[in-house]
């Protein structure tokens, strides 16, 4: 079973890299962009085939290591058998 963790800055944390991307898009003439957010994705291959066990396990991984709760939010998706 596979899991996908998406990690992004919490609202209110100004991400200078996202701001640079937004500025570069404007420089290319893409005026219609109102916001840019960078999201880091980590995909995991897991031993278990039970979605609930997988979800609980990955949530713990997020709390312990994958995300920093001070500045980041993580969301977990359990993917179909990969």
């Amino acid at each position: 079973m596979q899991a996908r963790v998406s990690i992004r800055f919490k609202d209110g944390v100004l991400d200078p890299e996202a701001a640079a991307i937004e500025g570069a898009l404007r420089g290319l003439g893409f005026d219609g962009v109102r916001g840019v957010r960078r999201v880091r994705v980590i995909e995991l291959d897991l031993d278990t085939n039970e979605p609930e066990a997988a979800w609980a396990s990955v949530e713990r991984m997020c709390e312990r290591l994958l995300a920093n709760p001070v500045i980041e939010d993580a969301s977990v998706e359990i993917l179909k058998e990969g």
């Binding site: 800055f9 209110g12 944390v13 100004l14 991400d15 200078p16 290591l65 920093n68 001070v70 500045i71």
Partner: protein
């Protein structure tokens, strides 16, 4: 005084920090590899600068989960002095010993120069005896020095006098110009982006780093 400096894979200021402790405090410094699960009781523990684990995931994130850090956290909560410059500051925030987090510099570039810092919180073993408002000139060298803390955390830091140092001219976008933060039960933990250990000899361009280390002799 018993002192040690922890080395992680990718640390590169560990020897500088050990030499600074030796020269300024006249102590012998044990060098400790991060895999250690048990640590003798130390009065002073250095968490050095560098790029532990290549800054993978987040700067300091993986080092903060090293076996030795559980011991460091325990001793810090027990009152041991823990000093973390640069990557050490990132590791201490990731380990939860200090509030907030450090992200990419606002200007996106690696910043390497000397900066002026204003001493603020003087109720700590590092800053005791320093005059509030005194300027210290220390080198910085980092890519991820933007200190982030939420409004409530900032109010708490300010209310408790736990902002040790602020930048005179903010080089990295840190919230409220914060350069160094105190923590622990008696403000015995200091994390800061500048490098006091690189400013202890006139030959190296300054001695203001001694001002933050010398007071530890009385701690």
């Amino acid at each position: 005084m018993r002192a040690c400096v922890v080395t992680f894979p990718g640390s590169n200021c560990d020897r500088d920090l050990a030499v600074a402790f030796e020269r300024v405090l006249g102590v012998r410094v044990d060098r400790v590899w991060h895999k250690r699960t048990r640590l003798d009781r130390y009065d002073l523990i250095g968490i050095p600068g560098g790029f532990s684990y290549g800054d993978h995931l987040r700067p300091g994130a993986i080092a903060a989960r090293s076996p030795v850090m559980q011991e460091v956290v325990r001793q810090a909560n027990d009152g041991a002095l823990v000093l973390g410059p640069c990557n050490g500051f990132q590791i201490l925030t990731e380990a939860g010993l200090l509030p907030g987090a450090l992200i990419r510099n606002r200007g996106l570039a690696f910043v390497c120069r000397r900066v002026d810092l204003v001493v603020e919180g003087t109720d700590s073993p590092y800053t005791r005896g320093l005059e509030r408002g005194r300027t210290l000139r220390l080198p910085i060298a980092h890519h991820d020095g933007g200190y982030v803390v939420d409004d409530e955390g900032l109010r708490r830091l300010e209310g408790e006098g736990r902002i040790a140092l602020r930048y005179k001219d903010n080089p990295n976008g840190s919230t409220a110009d914060i350069a160094g933060v105190l923590g622990g039960p008696r403000n015995n933990v200091l994390g800061l982006m500048p490098h006091p250990e690189r400013a202890i000899e006139p030959l190296l361009g300054g001695v203001d780093g001694r001002a933050l280390l010398a007071p530890l002799l009385a701690a």
